[in-house]
Symmetry: D2
Amino acid sequence: MQHKIVVCFSTKFVKLVISLINATFVQQQRCSLWFEEEVERDLRWVYGISKILHIGASEFQTIELVQSGPFGKVLLLDGKLQSAELDEFVYHESIVHPALLYHSNPKSVFIMGGGEGSTAREALKHSGVKKVVMCDIDQEVVDFCRDHMTENAEAFSSPRLELVINDARAELESCNEKFDVIIGDLNDPMDGGPCFTLYTQSFYMNILKPKLNLGGILVTQAGPAGILSHREVYSSIYNTLRQTFKYVVPYAAHVPSFADTWGWVMASDQAFPMIKMEETNYRIQNRIQGELHFLDGQTLCAMLALNKHVWKTLAGETHIFTEDSGRFIHGHGRAFKNQK
Amino acid sequence: MQHKIVVCFSTKFVKLVISLINATFVQQQRCSLWFEEEVERDLRWVYGISKILHIGASEFQTIELVQSGPFGKVLLLDGKLQSAELDEFVYHESIVHPALLYHSNPKSVFIMGGGEGSTAREALKHSGVKKVVMCDIDQEVVDFCRDHMTENAEAFSSPRLELVINDARAELESCNEKFDVIIGDLNDPMDGGPCFTLYTQSFYMNILKPKLNLGGILVTQAGPAGILSHREVYSSIYNTLRQTFKYVVPYAAHVPSFADTWGWVMASDQAFPMIKMEETNYRIQNRIQGELHFLDGQTLCAMLALNKHVWKTLAGETHIFTEDSGRFIHGHGRAFKNQK
Amino acid sequence: MQHKIVVCFSTKFVKLVISLINATFVQQQRCSLWFEEEVERDLRWVYGISKILHIGASEFQTIELVQSGPFGKVLLLDGKLQSAELDEFVYHESIVHPALLYHSNPKSVFIMGGGEGSTAREALKHSGVKKVVMCDIDQEVVDFCRDHMTENAEAFSSPRLELVINDARAELESCNEKFDVIIGDLNDPMDGGPCFTLYTQSFYMNILKPKLNLGGILVTQAGPAGILSHREVYSSIYNTLRQTFKYVVPYAAHVPSFADTWGWVMASDQAFPMIKMEETNYRIQNRIQGELHFLDGQTLCAMLALNKHVWKTLAGETHIFTEDSGRFIHGHGRAFKNQK
Amino acid sequence: MQHKIVVCFSTKFVKLVISLINATFVQQQRCSLWFEEEVERDLRWVYGISKILHIGASEFQTIELVQSGPFGKVLLLDGKLQSAELDEFVYHESIVHPALLYHSNPKSVFIMGGGEGSTAREALKHSGVKKVVMCDIDQEVVDFCRDHMTENAEAFSSPRLELVINDARAELESCNEKFDVIIGDLNDPMDGGPCFTLYTQSFYMNILKPKLNLGGILVTQAGPAGILSHREVYSSIYNTLRQTFKYVVPYAAHVPSFADTWGWVMASDQAFPMIKMEETNYRIQNRIQGELHFLDGQTLCAMLALNKHVWKTLAGETHIFTEDSGRFIHGHGRAFKNQK
């Protein structure tokens, strides 16, 4: 004989049981592979990897595309995070659009680095841009990203994209063209790293500036810009550009997968116009095909504002990047992006 | 016989050797104790603890003050980070000053929670504020912080501070006073946590609002507000207040030790005035004794701007916190701050 | 003009500088990918992965071969460590040779599981063994290991090896042969895991024992057997076999990559002979082609001895694995080895 | 009206629900503080700390007693694990009893280091031992352990214990006594660490040996002795003693909290007698008051056997510890035990 029990359940109890079952199930699937970013010597940003999707290698570095728990698909170069599916739009909209929106009529763009294709993708959203040169040193990375990062497939096949496999410095030195906007989508300056010289005053002055058209704008990623990290390289890159260009505009935004607020700097020898939020939104609407997800007039205003603490450091910074005097970061997100 | 070798050193080489020696030495002192915040199920924020400074306990929780590597002294309640020496000014300036600066003439402030004393410290910087009531449930935490957190010593001994050990809800219900500004320096809403009900519409409507003077402002911490985390509770707290007060102003700032952008919301039944940057700076100068390190007019402008992605979520949010319908965060920074 | 400095170096100083340089260089190459084994809920065994070598997948599980820092190449199934290049000889010599050496003249061996090939490799070292049946459920794992684990290539191509892709239980039930030695190279009993029933008394009694020749020996891996872990399943598997076979011999050895001492149990209905160290060494010399690296007469003596603490638990154990009453481990090394 | 639902539960389902509830509850209490032992550069042994019990400091080091998840109470010196409640009996029975049991009639024992008191506790279990000198350099550690480690309280108050606060080398040099057994319960040899010279041939020859009575035995802890770690220092300490004493006996056992098999070496100028298991058990029964939990005749046999792989290394080792030629371990369990 089987027992029958009469029970009264509250809906609340049933929900509780279900949530417990879910919680336990999820718990059992916990990760074994973890990606660990050593942000500083005793600060780690650690996230679970649920699947290795693709692996590759070039003469310069290893290449991996992995499925992470918190950030979606993540591209790793030499085991370092390059960009994450769920928030790469923050970094890439930020590095591309402010300069292109401030420029009165940008037609040509040169990207130093940027092999994964996302920076080019954003630049190509500007219908007025006729030509984007993307100059990355690593053919294999470019091929890998073209094959596996579907979100950039359209950009890679655009007739307006000119892909060059070369060292950015060498390419700029030898090319005969000038550009409206040059974008430094580079590795952070690392001690002994390949990108250090692309942040020096002599590079900006002698190699890069001659390749900007009249009214041209340089924008470069400039490392971590958080309350506790902006003194590492950000203030120095800012000051180096301030000593090299007439007009310099720093800005920043928090990028979750980088575990920090990130910084960029625009520089030009022509004054940046005062653009109101409404004008920014108007330009976005008129120039850009496709939707932006992070940036609009109000957001740009916030990015440019920074905060009192960081401004104070920027204002007082005296260090200039030269070949003999660099500053280096410990090991942040964009750390080993390979580009000489 | 001893060999003598003649060697030419470049200064560069000598510097290299010294930096190597330093690097190696520092390496040998690596941490053994680590604090691990499980930001999400597979995302960890981990930092080294070099020294346990003080330990204590109350009937509610354990209390520890530790020396961390990246964030200076860190206060832990029940093993959860409460605030960190090196960036607590971002959180505490942000939770206090916007509301007090927007108010035309704030004289009385009620703080729900805030036992560590930093929120009171900031409020007391306003020379026009005649009375700050700080209502925390845990006598031991308050005593511990008064004894060990020297940066708040002056605040704790201010004659303008009235310290109440009580549950914030009970205290508000029973007190006969009204206040110009009420600050919710509370634990995040956690499933089963003590603070959940202090974020509900009925609490705001029935308990809190009656204790605001005419023109009074409520400001509450509102959980993580980053690109990837603002849907957890921030948008919901915003919408709950929007359905309860006539005017609501959300804002946010990146707090490094919390590993995220953090959110706050101001709410009032009287319109917030349009204040220009210059006016903000003027009010800071005239009302506040002592210097602010994070906030000025421009910074406040940036905090209020948020970004397109977060605004879109806020605009579309329909969830309201009620006793039967909560939303909860996984385990962020302010997680277990004890306050019923 | 260049300065010249005359310096006297001690050899000691030069060595110091070189070791510092090495230390620093090595330091800069630190790992970003880490494998984390949750040995218990709050105990983790974590090691660096320097390279993903090969990735694959079957209908049952994901398959990865990675280069680890401390353990050489490591095979992962469903993200769990299966075996590590640098110490797999300890596990595989231990699971195979004691039973084959105690048996008077073993000619046929049946391996439940063992898809990576190492258990077969060890069994095939016995020149008297004419046939080794390896029965693994996962064709893809077998193919992956045959392709990538060169140390087992010879074994995989041996004419004495008969490879069957099937569930071990089903295969034993349906096959008409009997064997001198049956080896359980199985997953640990996990709650909900595929292998649990292959440790039950009814399986041993009804399915397995009928397939042993007269004098035949069963040996099974039996989970962690350390001072703190042997109560999880080891004592229980031991007792289950003790209640099923007339003679039972437990033994154990520390396997570094498993972060614990590991246990095995031999069982037979015929008494195990008293074999002196010298006799063991003699049998090794006469029966085994190729060298053993871990096992000799003295080592076997040590493995069989266990220690007082563990023996006390084994002696007093009363639990028996049945379909309704299992015990499970938290998540050790051999956790998810796929074999039904 | 309230709904009533008639449901049939199987006991199995109810058990499942309860286990899920437990699992989830336990999950919510997960640790925030973790102790991380860097066993090698890319191998970490990490365990949760649920509570800081006591903190202290001396002129030499910090002292902490913490409640760990997997190992019970753990004593940390300078943030390094010294001994763990749940398995310290393995280490301390192993370092003390073999030498005292092999000795025909030990009456006096000198302990180099051993400030926590556990080594003395084990030695005092021998009723024939009339005097135990424990010589530790750190008064504060001794006081801390006497106050907080209740398991050693009886030993600390024994009239047979003579406690000396001094450097072990200096104490041995200056004392006029000789001893039957000298125990080296010392820090591992670390580069730059305080204990290195207490492992050198000249120390053994010139300082220590003259203080041994006729038939006296030295036993020293000798670092990790696992399959992958025994070449770090164990084989070297063994060989150094082999070149200094006529008879040398290495042995080892797995200590879970040390994440490795641990090694000890006995040395004497008088031959170690062949003692059968039964004789060992007889001596334990006759000489020792109180029960041993790890060691008996059979266990001792297993410890002495080691394995083929380690024996091969020991046999071929040629390195000798001298003041100019040390070997060092990376950072294992007994790493910073303070004793000069």
